[in-house]
Amino acid sequence: MASAPSGLDKDQIFGMAEQEMEYRVELFNKLTKTCFEKCIEKRYKESELNMGECSCVDRCVAKYWQVTSIVGQLLGSSRPPM
């Protein structure tokens, strides 16, 4: 990133950085939404996460991460674009 000299290329670098951020934010938002739907009790008896929900969320994030890398491999890069 630091080796790009000219003004034009800079715009492309910022464009890439912007897209990378967009990608990460979207990944995080989809992950959060999906694990909320899979793990959180929808009756909302209380506003705290109970123990079962907490461990479900932790495992959900870990498994989502693994799916990320399986799909990433399939799409041809050795690693998802993180």
């Binding site: 910022f14 990460r24 995080f28 959060t32 694990c35 929808k42 969320v57 994030v61 993180m82």
Partner: protein, 93 residues
């Protein structure tokens, strides 16, 4: 989540750092507005199903409050776990 981008910023000129900082700020504002919108949508959807009155009853109000609080706590927990995974697997290129 800005780890790798921030890392890249150490050896670029100050004006570019400023531009990057502004970009990140814009992103954070946009993202928090979107989060706000989807929080409203989600909690409304889960908690409000009767339309015989034009005001929320006490039960719906409590439901919305807990839903929103719970989502925020959930979101913070996901964010922590997500950060750990990002650190645990340093980019092997």
């Amino acid at each position: 989540m800005d780890r790798s981008i921030a890392g890249d910023m150490t050896n670029i000129p100050e004006e570019d750092q400023q531009r990057m900082t502004k970009m990140i700020e814009q992103f954070q504002i946009r993202d928090s507005l979107r989060m706000y919108n989807s929080l409203v949508e989600r909690c409304f959807d889960h908690c409000v199903d009767s339309f015989r009155r034009k005001s929320l009853d006490k039960q719906e109000e409590t439901c919305v409050q807990r839903c929103a609080e719970k989502f925020l706590k959930h979101s913070m927990r996901v964010s922590m776990r997500f950060a750990e995974l990002n650190q645990g697997s340093p980019t092997p290129d």
